[in-house]
């Protein structure tokens, strides 16, 4: 209780209140515009927050992060286009409800479920804070290294169907982090004798290039889509009443959101998918899923919104970001010399509590805002894509240039923007690069400091938490390889069933010649030679 009061004391300032208001309302607006998303907005605003105090900057960014998914549900429900990528599953249930003439019901239900998810995660975190404060100091260099490694492994594995590409891009992120002067021996690494590379490649430049500028290129090279939207009339509070009829679905989804948010590298997508499939399994009307089921909508939205709060746990307790957005927030800490990690929970618990309370308040602010502004937000989806691209590129410039007023940063961001544009076109993931860069830095420092106390390889995991994290890494990898093997066998079987021989022409001729020369072929050839016509001749 004392901590909560101290947290309120930290927040009771006009600039923090303004940051919460701007962040939450700005986040909803950004979320409601398909094609922008919280990552782009946070990347653009990041350098501007460096001049603010950590609590002000972080509440602003947290506001955008926590509220964008509320806004993202609006176009997902009304026009079948998710405002943010994580609202993709909302389109499955929300849009069929709109086509049935139940847009108001779908929107109010989405707001209520999102509100529940957000509040649920914050309550969980406030209850868990004392436990975290006890556990976090047990994490030394080895444990943090292993936790970062686990995060990297999970980030790669989470990209199902693109695991090899995600691995390759995560390693590229690791490499980007090593460019520049090595911090201990001061020897240059991949600087190519260029002075502008000596300081290394700035994370913000890469983030802005890969998220904001690439998105601008992508939108500008695409086509505009004509959209017709209708006004939503009536009371949007009815969703809260309907939500109270599905407490189990909401509770399970909130739990999935919290658990998946805590695990680094997993995030909203897995939380959403698991809660959705669980809701389908326990539902009395599973056939309604995909056709406008209220339970499906609750599962998707509650799980989404429970993640941002939980994602702050590995960041605050261990200094390990679990996803791109928290990785960006980490740089705000570093700029202000506030080192997130065990020390933060021990010595600045009021700061941590203030962040949680800010999350709680922003959820309330967002719901109040949405009750009045939904019809205005609906109109935002009419901004043409290419026009939006021009706006994002202009804003991207402010982000990069205000960092150091350095044109080489802008050139680098433009090049990373082009890389991001290519990755977007190929539907390859961008997040592993960012997390590779952030986690790579943590891993390098922690590995070096932990190895100085290790004499034999097994000493690395001789402490209980280190051993536990190492075991989790092994289990995760084993489970993944078993799944790959399981999927591999039917694929091989299918291949043998449908493609008995190669369809390539050269190979076809080679096989025929080979077949004609083997024993069975010789018999057949002789039989052909002994055809009835020849027999008659004989």
């Amino acid at each position: 209780m004392e901590n909560i009061l101290l947290g309120f004391d930290v927040l009771a300032r006009w600039d923090v209140v303004l940051a919460i208001l701007c962040g939450s309302i700005g986040g909803v607006i950004i979320g409601a515009i398909p094609g922008v998303g919280p990552a782009v907005a946070i990347a653009i605003l990041l350098p501007a927050t460096f001049s603010m105090e950590p609590i002000v900057g972080l509440t602003l960014l947290l506001g955008i992060y926590g509220s964008s998914m509320y806004g993202g549900a609006i176009p997902a429900i009304l026009i079948n286009t998710p405002g943010t990528p994580v609202n993709a599953l909302t389109t499955y249930e929300g849009f069929p409800m709109t086509t049935r003439g139940e847009a108001r019901r779908a929107l109010s239900l989405a707001y209520a479920a999102s509100f529940f998810g957000g509040i649920f995660s914050v309550i969980c975190l406030i209850l868990m804070a004392p436990i975290l404060a006890k556990v976090a100091p047990l994490f030394g260099s080895r444990e943090i290294f292993l936790a970062a490694l686990l995060g990297l492994v999970l980030v790669i594995i989470a990209h199902r169907g693109k695991i090899l590409a995600a691995g390759m891009l995560a390693c590229f992120g690791l490499f980007l982090n090593t460019v520049g002067l090595e911090p201990v021996k001061y020897s240059s690494r991949y600087t190519f004798d260029q002075s502008w590379l000596a300081n290394g490649i700035d994370l913000i430049v890469v983030v802005l290039g890969l998220f904001a500028i690439s998105q601008a290129y992508f939108l500008m090279s695409g086509d505009d889509v004509k959209i017709r939207v209708n006004k939503v009339r009536g009371n949007l509070l009815q969703g809260f009443r309907e939500l109270s009829r599905h407490p189990v679905v909401a509770g399970i989804s909130g739990c999935f959101g919290v658990v998946m948010g805590i695990i680094p590298g997993v995030g909203e997508f897995t939380a959403q998918f698991m809660s959705y499939t669980t809701a389908e399994r326990i539902s009395k009307r599973p056939k309604a899923f995909g056709h406008g089921s209220s339970e499906g909508l609750i599962a998707s939205e509650a799980a989404n919104n429970a993640v941002p709060g939980a994602a702050m746990i590995p960041l605050l307790a261990l200094g390990i970001p679990g996803e791109a957005l928290t990785a960006m927030m980490l740089s705000v800490f570093y700029v202000h010399n506030v080192i997130p990690g065990p020390g933060l929970f021990l010595y600045q618990l009021d700061f941590v509590t203030a962040l949680y309370l800010a999350l709680l308040i922003l959820n309330v602010v967002v719901v109040i805002f949405l009750m009045f502004a939904t019809n205005f937000l609906v109109q935002l989806v009419r901004i043409p894509n290419r026009y939006l691209g021009v706006c994002i590129l202009t804003l991207g410039f402010v982000g990069v240039y205000s960092l150091r007023n350095n044109p080489s940063d802008c050139a680098m961001a433009a090049v990373f923007g082009l890389l991001g544009y290519i990755l977007r076109r190929l539907k390859l993931p961008i997040i592993p690069i960012i997390l590779g860069m952030v986690l790579g830095g943590i891993m390098e420092v922690k590995f070096r400091s932990s190895m100085s106390r290790v004499k034999e390889p097994l000493d690395f995991i001789d402490r209980p938490i280190a051993a536990m994290i190492f075991a989790v890494i092994i289990i995760v990898l084993l489970v993944h390889f078993l799944r790959v093997m399981r999927e591999w066998e039917p694929r091989k079987e299918r291949k043998w069933t449908y493609r008995k021989s190669s369809s390539k022409f050269g190979r076809l001729l080679f096989n025929r010649r080979k077949h004609m020369l083997d024993d069975r072929g010789k018999v057949l050839r002789n039989l052909q030679l002994m055809s009835p016509a020849r027999k008659k001749e004989d």
Binding site: H159, L395, V415, Y421
Partner: protein, 176 residues
Amino acid sequence: MAELKILTPPIATRGQSVFALCFLGFALILFLLLPYQTTMVEDTTWHKQPGFWPMVSIIGMVVFGVLHFWRLPRRKLEKIDYKEALLWIRGVEFVLWFMIYVSLVPIVGYLPSTLIFVLPLIYRQGYRKPFHFYCGALFVFSVVIFFKIILEVKIPGAALYEFFPAAIRNFLILNF
């Protein structure tokens, strides 16, 4: 499984092999440059060597790159891949636009260069109605006011402002 597909869309086939080959080539070049771009420090253990982490990351890039290329649905380069690569090259146009904007800011100032950048780019994107240009100009003014005046981000004054009288120059440097 449909839900899973919507959450993790499958990779696009076109251009995939071009990208994989380029990435692999880049990784191999970095690998070959490893002895020249990093230094081996004597009397230092392997994990403290400056080249250790670059080596780990580059080996990872090469291994995952090879596996990614090997597991592609189609490895052979076809006409559609070259077309896709041409589209990427066309993206360089936006890089040039951006770099021209960057080079203009220290010369003509933040507000004028943003106007010079945004309005022609809106035209280039195919918008011809005056409404679009008015909105563009409004957007530029609001961005400059928000970032330069309210958030006070660091964007230096322009060389062009030097030609103005001292009072106006100070005002322009501070606000635009």
